[in-house]
Symmetry: C2
Subunit: 217 residues, 2 copies
């Protein structure tokens, strides 16, 4: 059975909480998880039913087993190899974001068109000329790219990636990409996030339980 | 009337599309907007009703006026001053992300505890000692901070920011912050995004129209 995206999002946040618990904390209650995320207790219990985890009366969920089940369910161990296309500030920051690998995201290589960057290493990943994407994607079996090029190049590079066999683009540029139907795009809309946060603040009544990210306070 | 978060998110994406249109394209249809985001035509029309914009029969929406209305509605011109706390890779990348200012986000200063960084400039913003947050927040009337410190410091720094008068924390760390009830947190859950994208791919049937970000393809 598929898990709705908003549940996946919350499961990762429960995992962050479990990760931060002390060794001697063996159990956690749905109330504690709910309070930390400022959501309903019943929502937590509903979410955890997706991963077939049973809380125990009075003591709550066993931390280790809950963590393991979230990991299995969301495939943290099934590592996904990705390329970062655009070795600028944001691309480099993402290459240096070491938490990714704990959750199954493995950055294999980076690409840029700037000859000054090509051949350099960023946190252990070589920066290649962008013209090599297709060849390397095929050789290494990589289908996913994180797109962090400047805004004005995003559509052109997306076209190029689609032609080079990339099937999944995680798009960090503030552009809506027009891609062939066999290519999937996930927009990491940072500007939308900021405006949701600040507009929400202006009008608390606009609160929307279906939101994907969590605003709490 | 409050606008639901997912509508705010889509409105910013419509704005990205309008921004990229050529000068001579005066009108855009809801079908074109819908196709680019792989959502329903009727969804686009519903969203645009929130900003009181009327499409014209046959020709569609007037690009300039639609753009202006989205800008007014979401407050792009009402600039919000923010601090970036954590002048590492991600913090620096966000300080260099020039699109932010077009959408009303103005990074005033950065903070770190690393003496090698303090006093340096990142894209025109000075890096101050983190102990100065409270004083500067009060003097400059800043209530919002972007949190980009390493994971292990996030809760401690969040406590400190709360004590220093920061009321809104845009959290880029993979940690769930436990903050006083007068402080609001927005989690930029990059890991959750990645897992939503990749798990979605595995099971197309899990598609969820209520998603906040857009996956299309």
């Amino acid at each position: 059975m598929g898990i709705p995206e908003k549940v996946i999002n919350r499961l990762t946040m429960y995992h962050f909480i479990l990760e931060d618990m002390r060794e001697d904390e063996k159990y956690i209650s749905s109330t504690k998880l709910a309070n930390l995320l400022n959501i309903d207790n019943s929502q937590v219990r509903k979410d955890l039913k997706y991963i077939d985890n049973q809380g125990k009366c009075r003591v709550g969920y066993e931390v280790k087993s809950l963590k393991r089940k979230i990991e299995e369910c969301l495939g943290f161990k099934k590592t996904k190899d990705v390329f970062i296309v655009g070795a600028g500030n944001l691309g480099s920051a993402l290459a240096k974001y070491d938490s990714f690998k704990d959750y199954g995201l493995n950055v294999l290589a980076m690409f840029d068109k700037d000859s000054k960057k090509i051949g350099t290493m960023i946190n252990g990943r070589e920066v290649f000329d962008i013209s090599k994407v297709g060849n390397l994607a095929q050789r290494l079996g990589v289908e996913m790219a994180i797109l962090t090029v400047p805004k004005e190049y995003s559509q052109g590079v997306a076209n190029y990636l689609a032609g080079a066999g990339i099937k999944y683009i995680w798009n960090f540029t503030p552009c809506i990409l027009d891609v062939p139907s066999d290519v999937k795009v996930w927009n990491e809309n940072l500007i939308g996030s900021f405006l949701q946060f600040t507009n929400n603040e202006k009008d608390e009544k606009a609160k929307d339980d279906d939101r994907n990210k969590s605003m709490y306070g």
